[in-house]
Symmetry: C2
Subunit: 243 residues, 2 copies
Amino acid sequence: MNPLIRKLEQFAKLSDEDKRLVDDAARDVRRLEPRQDIIREGDRPDEVHLLLEGWAARYKVLPGGERAIMAYLIPGDLCDIHIALLDRMDHSIGTLSPAKVAYIPRERIEALMGRGDDLARALTWSMLVDEAILREWLVTLGHRPADKRVVHLICEMMLRSKAVGLTDDDSFDLPLTQEELADTMGITPVHMNRTLQLLRQRGLITTRGRRVIVDDAKRLMAFSDFNPNYLHQEGGRARSARA
Amino acid sequence: MNPLIRKLEQFAKLSDEDKRLVDDAARDVRRLEPRQDIIREGDRPDEVHLLLEGWAARYKVLPGGERAIMAYLIPGDLCDIHIALLDRMDHSIGTLSPAKVAYIPRERIEALMGRGDDLARALTWSMLVDEAILREWLVTLGHRPADKRVVHLICEMMLRSKAVGLTDDDSFDLPLTQEELADTMGITPVHMNRTLQLLRQRGLITTRGRRVIVDDAKRLMAFSDFNPNYLHQEGGRARSARA
DNA sequence: CGCAAGATTGAAGTACGTCAATTCCAGTGG
DNA sequence: CCACTGGAATTGACGTACTTCAATCTTGCG
């Protein structure tokens, strides 16, 4: 099933018509290699990108050459609805793993958003959640030490993955290198490495290849002060009103 | 003039009708003291708040008791359009200086946003800019040293203040204590103090009370790698299409 | 004038950075 | 089946930006 639909249904019940509209919009699907840009800073494309499979990242490259990763995108995430309104991209988005991306014509998205119905509200809701995630990352970078940063991220990606059906009972994919994690957390790869080692020693995280095994989610959340409220997975006013 | 209208006109030309709608929505104006909460984490209010005068900040209080400031709000900024859709606030907003705030009924904002016209697009544009600012702050916290963090913030607040007519030729108000700055930049007040002293010594910044004097903006921008593109002050597609 | 908030200072500690090597490992070709 | 390769992970020694704590000084303001 289209992971965007699955994600939006957390927020509001969608009609069959709504689902058909989303599916129709996402017909033009392309496969991308790992480390390929989906869209670049300065671009002004005529389509919006929806990630269907694989992971991607928002990033900026700083004058010194280092890369700052500002968000992870997983299946169901719209990469750049922004561009339907803004002049040009102020950052780039690139794949981290092999990926499948739907190219949706800009007018198509504008039409969906302009309908003023549950579907439009659900799309706006997903934009607001993205913003809330940014705020939480800001808290993390400003106020949490390296070990809690990593664990906090693991908690978040676990819940987000679960919401689109990408978790196993006790594990999920985290297809990131230590360097990518470091670029996200604002620390060096070397320190990232030592941090991970410590976390493994303390028995907080276990990995099998690029998969993270989570046998005590509560412990991880407690350790990193993780409060899931910012993900707004309970749904918003639309859902509550209906309930 | 209503600073929100002034801000939105950067993005799109508004009709007299549009302006009247905004002015009408912002009739219920209240005065607030400094350090007073406008809205608190967990709240689910029935109005949206528009800052008309003074400064405010988005913040979260962490379990350890420290405060993380995630955004500054100045006249023309909508505090929480989010709440029109989301279930409850995942953070708080409080004034930093004496302030004037318009309380706008939620339905009013929903009606404005649901019209699908230039005004609605302008409001969405302002939300997207807020998000872009968050991304840039994330870059700052993750990848810039303390001195550049402060200067980068000064550059941003200077441009944002200018956009709503709050700058003098060479100065603007920055009504923040060193502690508030520290809570924003993710450093301790002590280190904030030492950082400011160094910047003053190097002649990069000059202050008169809570006012920052800027006589060489170019130098500040160069020093902090400030690239104004993320503020999207050139306007978006609407404006470009019109030109 | 006097108070409280804010700004400033000093000394000592720590989390994280830097540089440069070395080891591990999945994938490839022979 | 193994040797080869390049990216990723890991290690060690050493440097530094920022923290911590606790005191003192300034300043706006009633």
